[in-house]
Amino acid sequence: MKLYKYSLLLALPLTVLVSCKKSAFVDANVSPSTLASVDPGAQFLYAARSFPNDFEYYYDVYRDLNAWMQYSTGGTGNSAGFNLPGSHFDYRYGNYYTNIGTPLADIPHLISKMSADDQAARVAEGAIASIYMAEAAFYCSDINGSIPYGQAFQARYGGTLTPTYDVQQSIFDTLDTQLKAAITALRSAPAGQKNYGTNDPFYGGDTTRWIKAANALRLKIAMRLMKRNPSKLQSIATEVLADPDQMSSIDDSWVLKVGTTYADAGGNYNPTGFLAAKPMVDFMNAKVDPRLGIFYRKNGAGNYVGSPTSPDVCALPANQALYTAKDTPFSLLQHRLFTPNYDEGDGAGAGTGNGFFPVLTYAEYCFIRADLGARGITGDDPETWYNAGVTASMKFYSARAMDAKITGYSGVADSTISNYLSNPLRGQFDPAKATEYIACQAYIDFFRQPAEAWAWWKRTGFPNTTSTLAWPTMTANGSAVVLPRRASFTLFSTADANYTNQKAAYDAMATDPNFGTSLSDVSGRIWWDMP
C-alpha cells in the first residue's frame, strides 16, 4: 500500500500537467493593462500633443530653419554650409506618419465599430479629426511634395503595406474637399454630439472654432496655389470668405498650449547656444517693436544686439573675437518663450509658465487676408488686415509671454500697438509696398512658425536684401549662399517593400524642370513653389 501512496504522490504533478485547459494558458497570457479599444478622444489627444516634435525643434527649427530664416544664428554665427539641411532635416515627415496621422486615421475605425447611435453622436469628432489630419498632411507635403495619403495608414486594417504616393496637386485638392466636407459635417451633425472636451487641447472641442480653423486652413492651403493655379485660389478664397464663421480674435488661434514641463528645458526644446540674428534685431530695434523683448534677451550690457548672419561676416576676426569673448555681446533667444521651465540663472530657479506651439494663428489669418486683398484676389482691404495682423501678433505674443512667465515682461498696451501702426518710422503700412510690408510683418509674426516663414519667403520673395526688413547678402568663402527650398530626398534601398512606389513618385517629381539637379538638391522646388 505504501508504494501505492508514493505512486500517487508522484503522479500528482503529471496529473496537474494533463488536466489543464488551454484557457488557463490563455488567461496567463493576457496583460491586465492592455486595452482592447480606446475612445476616439484618446487618439485625438495623442495626435494633438504630438503636433510639436522635440527632434524637429532640435534639428529643423533651431539648427536649420531659424538660421536660414535669420531669426537666430549658432553660437559662433553662421558658418559655411549652414544652408545645408543635413541628414536630420525634415522630422516633420516621420512625425506626421508616426505620431499624428496614424492615431488620427484610427478614429474613423474606432467610430465605425460603435453602435449606430454612437456613430451618429461622433460625427463632429470624426470631422475635427479630419481637419487636423488635413493640416498635418498639408504640412508634410508642403516641403516633401508627393507623399502617400489616399492609401496611407491602412496596414492595421488589412490595407496595403506599400501605399502609393499622391502628387501634391491632388493632395491639396483632396484636403480642400476634405475640409469643406468637415465644415459641412460639423454644421449638419445631429444633436447630441459627443465632444472631445479636454482631449482637444487646441479648442476644447469647440465646434465653431474648429469651423473657423478649417476655413483659415483652406485659405492657407489655397495661397500655395498663387502661381500654379491663381483661379483656383480665387474661387476657394471667395467660397471660404462667404462662410459666416471666420477667425476674429487671437482666441480663435489654432495653438497647442501646453504645461510647464512639456517643452522641457532639459531636453531638445532648449534653445541654448543660439544668438539673436542681426536683421531681426536691427529692424525691431529701429521700429521699437514691443515683441523684441519677447523674442530675445538683452545682452549683459542691457542691449539687444544681433549676430551677423552672413558666414563671411561671422568669420571676420573681429566678430570671432566677440563670439568667443567671456561675456558675449550678442542677445540670446528668449529661452522661456520656447522652454518655460528654463532656469535663467537669476537665482529664481526654473520657470513655472506655460508653453505654446502655434498651428495657424489669427495673426496669420489676417496676413493671409491682407495679402489676398493686396493682390486683388479678394476685396479685402490690405491695410485693415495688415493692422489687424500686426495687432493680433503683438497681442498674441504678449499673452503667450505672460503665460510663459518671461522674467520682467509685463504685457503690451493697446497704445503701444496703435503708436506702432500709426508711425511711419515704425510699423505703419505703406500701400505702395503692400505685399512687401505684409510679408515682412508676417515674417516677424512667424518667429515661432519658422516653417511658415520659409513658405512665405518662397511664395512672396520677402524678406530680401531690399525689403523694409532687409536681409544682408550672404556669402560663404566669397560665394553667395543659396537657401534651400525643399526637403532633401533619399531613395529607399531597393530592398525596401515600397521602393517601387517611392521611386515612381520621385521620378515623376523630377520631371519638373525646377525640381533641382538631384534628389538631394535642396535648392530645387516642389510642385507649388513655382519661380
Binding site: 508504494l3 504522490l9 500537467l17 500633443r49 539648427r63 553660437g75 498650449k257
Partner: protein, 1130 residues
C-alpha cells in the same frame, strides 16, 4: 476543476506511469533487498556503477546519482561492482542494508562524472555532446561578485563580456554566438532545478544609465559544487523553450557523510586598483593659444577657452594651451595654482575592495546530511560611493525517510544592496572617465573640486565660470551627492522527494520556488541655494515576481543481458511565472524641504507609474535516457513537448504546443579489443548528436502588440495631467508594431560532432567539437514603411547560423612525486551568420551606438552584428575621376569649429552608409597553467579575444578638445604643425592639412574646388591649413564628427588571473585544532599582454549585456585586483 485530457503525449505518460506501478506490485518479494552507496576514494558518490550478482548476467542495477543502489538478490549472493575507470570490486552482502562500497580509480583508464540534463550525474563516456564542467572552487577563486565574469576564458564556446558599471553590473554570457536576434541571449541558469532567466541590463546609446545588474549577482558561488555549461542543443534540449541560448547548470554543495560537524571558513580580501586611464596627454593645458595673457599683477592667466562655460558658446574646454610646466598661474576661479596636468587615477579614483566571508558547516551520515552556509560580501569599486553588499544564507539537507523515500531540500535567501552603480553609456560624458576627457582641459584641478564642489556660503553646487569653471563639480555631484540604491531579496527554495520503488526504478517529485523583490531609491540633493532646486529628487521603485516549478520524473536504470545498460526517464513539469507588480513613484520639480526624502515632499505633483512583471506558464512532458552497449556505444535520446502560454491568443487560438527532440551517439572506440590498452592512445571517443531547442514568444506580447494602452501623460496649460492611451507596446510606450495572429515558436536545430582523445596514459588530451546551429522562425518585429500606419510587424522568419569549432587541449607536461605541471588550452571559433531574414527584408537593426549614428545589424548573407554608419568618411565619386576613392572634405550641415572645412560624413555627402565589419570576435582562446610543488600551487590564466568591433563614445567625444594623446600631432611646429597665417592675420604653427579632396560644389571665391586635394587648395591659396584645435574637434564632435574614427577592432590578450596557493602542513594546522588550512594569493585582470583598442580605451567596457552590445560610453580605467584568501577547515 473540470479535467480534460488534452495533450496526447502527457496522457500517454500517465498511462505508462500507471503501468509501471502496477508492475511494481506484481514483482516478487521473496528475495532479500540489499541497499548501499558506492563512493570513490575521495568520498564522492559514483553514479552509473553496474551492480550485478556474481555469475549472472541478468537482474543487474545501476547506481543512481547519489551512488545509491538497491537490488533484490538471494541472500548468499556475491555482488560485483564495475564501472569504467574503476577497478572492479566484489563484496558479500553483510547485513544487507546500507552497504558502503569503495571503488578505487583505475589510473589506466579515464573516468569523469559530469552533471547533465536535469542535474543527473553521468559518466562522461556516455555523453554524446560537448559539455564543460567548472568546479565551484574555480568560480570562487576569481574573487568576483559576478558568476559570469568568473567564467571568463575558462570554457570553449563561451564568450564573456564583463560588465562595466561596478560590482553589480551584469556580464554578457554568450554560448556559441547568438541564436536569436532579440536583445537577450543570456543562457538559462538552473540551480538545483530552479530555473532563472537572467535579464539584460545596462545603458544604451542615448542617455547614461546605472547598471544594477541582473539576478546573477544575487547568486552565491561559495555554495556551488559545480557549474556545468550545456552548450549544444542536444545537451540542453530537455529545457526546450528555455534552452535556445544554452544552459548553466549549477549544482550546490551537499553535506557529506562524516564524523561530527565540519566547519569551513573562507575569508577573502581583495583590492581593486585603477591602474591606467585612457591615453591622456600631459603636455599642454587649457586654452587655444600657446602663451598666457597676463593680469594687472603680471600673473599668467588661464584663458577662457579652457572652460566649457564659454558663455553661450557650446565649445570650449580646449587643451591646446601653454605647455604644462608647473609654474603658478591664475586659474579661471581666481586661485593661484600650479600649471600642471591632473591625474584622475590619483585625484579621483579610490581603491575598491572585495571582502568575502563564507562560513559553512556540514554533517551527515548514511541516512541524511545537511549543510548550512552564510556568505557576506562587501564589495566596493574604484569609483567613490559605489558598492555592493550581499548576505546569503543557504541550507541544504538530505534525509532518508524510508527504504523507499528520501528528501533533498535546499533553501537560499540572498539580500543584495547596491549603491550608485557607475554611470555608463550615452555619450559617456556623465561618467568619470568620459567626463574627465569631455571638454575638461588637462589642467582642470579634479582633486581641488572633489573637496570644493559645494558652495559653502549658500549651500548647493558651485557654479558658473568662476564657481565651477571646468564643470568638475557638476560631474562629481551625481557621484558624490546623488544616491541611488537598490535592495534585492531573492528566495530560492527547492524540495526533491526521491523514491526508490524497486532496485531499478526511481521516482522524483521536485517542487521549487523563486521569489524576488527589489526596492530602489533615488535620493538626489538639490543643487540650488540651501540645496533647494529642481535637482532635488526622490524616487521609490518596487518590483516583485514569483516563479514556481513542479516536476515529476520516473527513471529506470536497468541492465539487459551482458551487453546493454538502459537508463530512461519519463516525466513532466509545469512552470509558472506568477508575475507581480512593479511601481515607481517620484517627486517632481524639486523637494519642498531639501535633503528630506519622501514622496510627499515633492514641489509639483508627484508621479506614480505602475506596470506588471508578466505572467507566463508552460507545461512540458518528456522522455529521455541513454542505452549503452558494452561500455562502448551509447545512444542518448530525448523528446520534450511544451505547452506555452505566451503563444496563445485572447480568443483562444494559437499554436502553443510543440516538441523538441534530440538524439546522439557516443562511441568509446578505445573499448575495441584492438585498441584496448594501447600504449599511446589511452582513450578515444567519438560523438555525434542532433538536437532541437527553441524559444516561445515574449509573455503577453501576442495579446498586446497592435492594441492600446497607457503611453504616457500630457500636461495641458491648466497644468492638469492626463493619461495618454494610444497604440501601446504594453509597457507604457507608444508603439506601432502590428501583431501577428499566427506566431509559432522559434526553433533551432543543432548538429554536433566531436572527439575526445587521451594519449600517453591521459597525460595529453584533446577534445574537439564542431557544431552547426540554425535558428529558424525568429519572432521579429520587422520594420515596415511608416506611411502604411505601422512601424513594424511581427513575423516568424529567418535563419541564423552559428557554426564553429571548439578545442580543448589538456596536458600534464611534467609529473613527478612533488611537482606537477598541468595545462589546458581552449580555443573557440564561432561564425555567427545571417542566412536569411524575411522575404523582402535584408537588414534588421540590432543595437545602436552614438545615439543612432551607428548601428549593428543583422544583414542577410553577412555576419551577425555587421556595423554600418552613415557617419563614416565619405568617399569621393564626383566629377574629377582622378580623385575617386579619396576622403571628401567639405562643410558639415550643423557647422564646424572655426568654420573650417572638414571631412564629410558619407550620409551627408551622398547618402551612403559604410559597412565597417562585425562585432563578433574571430576567435577566442585561453589557457590555464597549474604548477604544484608539494603544498604549493601556482595557477596562471591567460585569455584572449581576437577580432570584433568596439564603438567608443569615450574615444569619439573625448577626442574633441585636445585632451588625449591622439591630438598631439600638428599642434605646434615641433609636433608637425604647419606654419600659416590665419584669417585674422595671425601667424600660427598648428596647421594641419586634411588628407582628402573637396566635394564638388565647394566654392571659394568663385572657384569650385570639387575634386581638388586640400593640400593643392592650400598651395593655390584658396584655403589655409586647419588649426589643430579645429581639425581634431571637427573630426569627432557632435555636429561634424566622423564616428568611424572611434569604431575599431578590439582584440586583446589578457593575463586574467595568477594565483598562488599554499596548503599548510598538518603539523601546523593541527596545533591550532584545525583540519586544514590553506592560504592563497590571487591577482585578477592583472594586465593586457597585448591589446589594440585605440587611445587606451578599456577593451572590456561595453555598457550593457545585450546580445549585440558593441559600444562603450565612459567605461572605466583599467582595473586590476589583488587579494588573499584564507581557507580553514575545522
Amino acid at each position: 476543476m473540470k479535467r480534460t485530457f488534452k495533450p496526447k503525449v502527457a496522457s500517454a505518460i500517465l498511462f505508462v506511469v500507471s503501468f509501471l506501478f502496477v508492475g511494481l506490485f506484481a514483482s516478487a518479494q521473496e528475495k532479500k533487498l540489499v541497499t548501499g552507496v558506492v563512493r570513490d576514494t575521495s568520498g564522492v558518490a559514483v553514479p552509473g556503477v553496474s551492480v550485478k550478482v556474481k555469475g549472472t548476467n541478468a537482474g543487474g542495477v545501476i547506481t543512481d546519482d547519489a551512488g545509491a543502489f538497491s537490488i533484490r538478490v538471494n541472500p548468499n549472493s556475491i555482488l560485483v561492482f564495475s564501472s569504467v575507470g574503476y577497478a572492479t570490486k566484489e563484496t558479500g552482502l553483510g547485513d544487507g542494508s546500507n552497504l558502503s562500497v569503495l571503488l578505487i580509480k583505475n589510473s589506466k583508464s579515464l573516468s569523469e562524472v559530469v552533471v547533465t540534463g536535469f542535474g543527473q550525474r553521468k559518466d562522461v563516456r556516455k555523453v554524446a555532446y560537448s559539455i564543460t564542467e567548472i568546479k565551484g572552487s574555480e568560480v570562487v577563486a576569481a574573487n568576483n561578485s559576478n558568476l559570469g565574469d568568473a567564467l571568463q576564458g575558462k570554457v570553449a564556446g563561451v564568450t564573456i563580456s564583463q560588465g562595466t558599471g561596478g560590482p553589480s553590473s551584469s556580464s554578457r554570457i554568450q554560448i556559441r554566438g547568438n541564436a536569436r536576434l532579440a536583445g537577450n541571449t543570456e543562457p538559462l541558469v538552473v540551480i538545483d532545478g530552479v530555473l532563472i532567466q537572467p535579464s539584460t541590463t545596462g545603458a544604451d546609446s542615448w542617455g547614461g544609465a546605472q547598471d544594477f545588474g541582473n539576478i546573477i549577482k544575487d547568486l552565491n558561488p561559495d555554495d556551488y559544487e559545480s557549474v556545468t555549461v550545456l552548450k549544444g542543443s542536444a545537451a540542453s534540449a530537455l529545457y526546450g523553450s528555455q534552452a535556445l541560448n544554452g544552459v548553466l547548470l549549477i549544482t550546490t554543495k551537499k553535506g557529506r557523510a562524516r564524523k561530527g560537524i565540519g566547519v569551513t571558513w573562507n575569508q577573502t580580501a581583495s583590492f581593486d586598483k585603477a591602474y591606467k586611464m585612457i591615453d591622456l596627454q600631459n603636455q599642454f593645458g587649457g586654452g587655444t593659444s600657446s602663451t598666457f595673457a597676463k593680469d594687472g599683477s603680471g600673473n599668467d592667466v588661464v584663458d577662457i577657452s579652457a572652460s566649457p562655460y564659454n558663455s553661450n558658446n557650446p565649445n570650449g574646454g580646449y587643451s591646446y594651451g601653454p605647455a604644462l610646466d608647473g609654474h603658478m598661474v591664475k586659474d579661471l576661479d581666481g586661485r593661484m595654482v600650479p600649471w600642471k596636468a591632473n591625474d584622475p587615477l590619483k585625484d579621483f579614483f579610490v581603491t575598491g575592495q572585495y571582502i568575502n566571508t563564507n562560513v559553512a558547516a556540514e554533517g551527515g551520515n548514511d541516512n541524511g546530511s545537511f549543510r548550512v552556509s552564510w556568505t557576506n560580501l562587501n564589495n566596493s569599486s574604484v569609483v567613490p560611493n559605489n558598492k555592493l553588499l550581499k548576505n546569503s544564507f543557504t541550507f541544504r539537507g538530505t534525509q532518508k525517510l524510508s527504504n523507499v523515500l528520501s528528501l533533498d531540500a535546499s533553501i537560499n535567501y540572498t539580500n543584495t544592496f547596491v549603491k550608485n552603480p557607475i554611470n555608463q553609456g550615452g555619450g559617456g560624458t556623465s561618467n568619470p572617465v568620459g567626463g574627465f576627457a569631455y571638454f575638461m582641459p588637462r589642467n582642470a584641478p579634479i582633486s581641488y573640486y572633489k573637496n570644493h564642489y559645494i558652495n559653502t556660503a549658500n549651500g548647493g553646487i558651485v557654479t558658473g565660470i568662476t564657481g565651477d569653471p571646468y564643470y568638475i563639480a557638476h560631474l562629481l555631484w551625481p557621484v558624490l551627492e546623488d544616491n541611488t540604491s537598490r535592495n534585492e531579496n531573492v528566495l530560492i527554495a527547492n524540495l526533491d522527494l526521491n523514491a526508490k520503488f524497486t532496485p531499478w526504478l526511481t521516482g522524483l517529485v521536485r517542487a521549487n520556488v523563486l521569489n524576488y523583490n527589489d526596492q530602489t531609491e533615488v535620493k538626489n540633493l538639490g543643487q540650488g541655494n540651501n540645496f533647494s532646486g529642481s535637482h532635488g529628487y526622490y524616487e521609490l521603485d518596487q518590483s516583485a515576481y514569483r516563479n514556481v516549478r513542479v516536476q515529476g520524473l520516473l527513471t529506470a536504470n536497468k541492465q539487459f543481458g551482458e551487453d546493454f545498460v538502459l537508463s530512461a526517464s519519463i516525466g513532466g513539469e509545469t512552470y509558472r511565472q506568477l508575475g507581480g507588480p512593479n511601481t515607481r513613484m517620484n517627486t517632481n520639480g524639486g523637494l519642498v524641504t531639501p535633503g528630506l526624502y519622501f514622496i510627499s515632499n515633492t514641489v509639483a505633483a508627484a508621479s506614480i507609474t505602475q506596470n506588471y512583471n508578466p505572467r507566463y506558464r508552460y507545461d512540458a512532458a518528456y522522455v529521455y535516457g541513454d542505452l549503452t552497449w558494452r561500455d562502448m556505444l551509447t545512444l542518448n535520446f530525448s523528446v520534450r513537448n511544451d505547452w506555452s502560454s505566451s503563444l496563445t491568443y485572447a480568443n483562444g487560438h494559437g499554436n502553443y504546443t510543440y516538441a523538441y527532440p534530440s538524439v546522439g551517439l557516443a562511441w568509446v572506440f578505445t573499448e575495441l579489443p584492438t585498441l584496448k590498452n594501447n600504449p599511446v592512445l589511452s582513450y578515444g571517443k567519438l560523438r555525434a548528436s542532433i538536437g532541437w531547442t527553441g524559444y516561445s514568444a515574449d509573455p503577453w506580447s501576442t495579446n498586446s502588440q497592435g492594441l492600446y494602452g497607457y503611453v504616457g501623460t500630457f500636461t495641458n496649460s491648466q497644468n492638469t495631467q492626463f493619461n495618454l492611451n494610444s497604440f501601446s507596446n504594453g509597457n507604457g510606450g507608444y508603439d506601432l508594431t502590428l501583431g501577428n495572429q499566427n506566431l509559432r515558436n522559434e526553433l533551432a536545430r543543432e548538429i554536433e560532432f566531436g572527439a575526445a582523445l587521451k594519449f600517453l596514459n591521459n597525460r595529453l588530451g584533446l577534445d574537439i567539437t564542431y557544431y552547426k546551429k540554425n535558428s529558424f522562425n525568429q519572432i521579429l518585429s520587422l520594420p515596415a514603411d511608416i506611411e502604411s500606419g505601422i512601424s513594424s510587424r511581427t513575423i516568424n522568419a529567418g535563419n541564423i547560423q552559428n557554426q564553429g569549432i571548439e578545442l580543448l587541449l589538456t596536458a600534464t607536461p611534467v609529473k613527478t612525486r612533488d611537482f606537477t605541471w598541468d595545462m589546458t588550452v581552449n580555443f573557440t571559433r564561432n561564425r555567427n551568420k545571417i542566412i536569411e531574414l524575411a522575404p523582402g527584408v535584408t537588414s534588421y537593426n540590432l543595437q545602436l551606438a552614438f545615439g543612432a549614428d551607428a548601428a549593428a545589424y543583422a544583414i542577410a548573407g553577412k555576419d551577425y552584428g555587421t556595423v554600418q554608419t552613415g557617419y563614416a568618411f565619405a568617399t569621393y565619386n564626383g566629377k574629377n575621376a582622378a580623385a575617386k576613392g579619396q576622403r571628401v572634405i567639405g562643410s558639415a550641415p550643423n557647422g564646424t569649429t572655426g568654420g573650417y572645412y572638414t571631412f564629410m560624413r558619407s550620409q551627408d555627402y551622398d547618402g551612403s552608409v559604410k559597412t565597417l565589419g562585425t562585432i563578433m570576435p574571430s576567435f577566442l582562446w585561453g589557457t590555464y597553467q597549474t604548477f604544484s610543488y608539494k603544498n604549493f600551487s601556482l595557477g596562471i590564466q591567460v585569455d584572449s579575444k581576437i577580432g570584433g568591433l568596439l564603438a567608443s563614445a569615450t574615444d569619439q567625444y573625448g577626442s574633441e578638445t585636445g585632451v588625449m594623446k591622439n591630438s598631439l600631432f600638428g599642434r605646434n611646429a615641433k609636433l608637425g604643425g604647419l606654419t600659416f597665417t590665419d584669417g585674422s592675420g595671425n601667424t600660427r604653427d598648428d596647421g594641419i592639412i586634411p588628407k582628402g579632396v573637396f566635394a564638388d560644389g565647394v566654392i571659394v571665391n568663385g572657384q569650385d574646388l570639387g575634386g581638388m586635394t586640400y593640400a593643392d587648395a592650400v598651395g593655390k591659396g584658396y584655403v589655409t591649413p586647419v588649426p589643430a584645435y579645429a581639425y581634431y574637434e571637427n573630426l569627432t564632435q557632435w555636429s561634424s564628427g566622423i564616428r568611424e574614427v572611434s569604431i575599431f577592432e578590439n582584440s586583446w590578450v589578457a593575463l586574467r588571473q595568477v594565483s598562488i596557493g599554499y596548503s599548510l602542513p598538518g603539523s601546523v594546522y593541527k596545533k591550532i585544532h584545525l583540519n586544514g588550512l590553506r592560504v592563497s594569493v590571487t591577482g585578477r585582470n592583472l594586465f593586457y599582454i597585448w591589446k589594440n583598442a585605440k587611445d587606451g580605451i578599456n577593451p572590456e567596457g561595453i555598457y550593457n549585456n545585450q546580445a549585440a552590445a558593441f559600444a562603450e560610453g565612459g567605461g572605466l580605467p583599467l582595473i586590476r585586483s589583488m587579494g588573499a584568501t584564507l581557507n580553514a577547515t575545522f
